[in-house]
């Protein structure tokens, strides 16, 4: 399965069902595609802050070291800020409802993405055996 094949519209519906932010399925789907594009393009592991406005969520991308999928999902022309906010809001809401502070997502050929509340940073770094370097 390539990153191009991911079901972005299903992901968008998941987000829409969990957020109050006024945005459309199409906008969220586009934002998810842009995130997938960035994840596929990154050529180093990174911990990203300030990706989802309105939440303090952080994201750790641990790339697959082998068997990397060469296909790059297309970069959308425009991504709405509201859609990024909606994605963050949906994840935070799901975390609240499940009593968790971590989301893990494994994408074959790309790597693992961990979305977490800032207080989980040490846990995530320990669990993934990652040393975080300041840029």
């Amino acid at each position: 399965m390539s990153l191009r094949e991911l079901n972005y519209s299903q992901g968008a519906q998941w987000v829409q069902a969990r957020c109050t932010e006024k945005t459309t399925d199409s906008e969220v789907s586009t934002a998810l595609q842009a995130l997938a594009h960035a994840a596929a393009r990154a050529d180093a592991d990174c911990a990203v802050e300030g990706l989802f406005p309105g939440s303090a969520l952080e994201v750790l991308l641990s790339r697959d070291l082998e068997g990397k999928d060469p296909s790059l999902p297309p970069l959308p022309v425009k991504v709405e800020l509201a859609a990024m906010r909606a994605i963050g809001e949906a994840i935070v809401r799901e975390m609240g409802e499940t009593g968790t502070k971590l989301l893990t997502l494994r994408v074959e050929g790309c790597g693992e993405i961990v979305v977490f509340q800032p207080e989980m940073r040490e846990t995530v770094l320990l669990g993934t055996r990652t040393t975080l370097l300041d840029a």
Binding site: M1, E5, L6, N7, Q10, A31, A34, L35, H37, A38, A39, A40, R41, A42, D43, A44, D45, C46, A47, V48, E49, G50, L51, F52, P53, G54, L60, L61, S62, L65, L75, V77, K78, V79, E80, L81, M84, E94, M95, T98, T100, K101, L102, L103, T104, L105, R106, V107, T123, V124, L126, G127, T128, R129, T130, T131, L132, L133, D134, A135
Partner: protein, 284 residues
Amino acid sequence: MTPDKQPKARFPTENEFLNERLAQERPPRLAVRVVMNLGQAPGNIAQRLSEAAAAVGEQMQAAFKRHVANMADESQAIATKLTFAEINRVSPVQQAAMIREGKDATIVSEAAARQRRCAPEVQAALVEHCKDHTASMQMLAGRPDATLDTLAALADSKDQRTRLYVAAGIGSRMKIEEPNAAVAHKKAAIFDDLIKGYESDYAPYLVPVCRSSEQLSEMFDKTSKALGMIEVFVENPYTPDSVLIEIASSPTMQLVQHDVARSAREILQSRADLRESSDDMAPS
């Protein structure tokens, strides 16, 4: 594609996450910190994401070089010397030479920037050799004794927090009337640089000292209309009527920030009265 091809998202508890991970044999990894702050200056988000991803490899190499440099005995020795530079009476010129020597290690630049006194020569050396040391540049920009040359060099920093400290530093200095034209010009240039990359958080520092209606209008457009952010525009006598009208007539303002909206209406009224009275005084 069918839904079962969807990557599996999980929300594990902290214990589940650690139990699972620590049981596996994994190679140690390195990750570089990337600060996006999309809420502050969204711009073209797709482009920013793509550019950030493209730059992350290079950032990692630079960060790893600094990480290794931090481990070196020479760097530790220089950092220690800089930490005790004041008590050992190490001259600013010698300190600048040490910074040049240990320029790859963040422990060196941090030790220099953390001193009680940071001489202009030391600041210049830090800016020249260690401008990509984010934490050190934040410390430097936030120092009350940061020189105008330092602030000028950091006003276009890629780091949002560094620029915010520059805004705070220049904001407080803009309140002082400068008899020296060259210094006044330098301050104005830093101010203008910050306006070019203006972000909402600068408002408390830049808006009260701004005397250009055009710049105030530009800043207002880019400022979050959240609680506590708009008063500064109402309080500035150079804020144009168009901005005050927007504040006074905004339903959200009237509902959530009633006092601010009322102040804007009162100022608009007094400006109108003033204009009317000056028209009456005009020779017919």
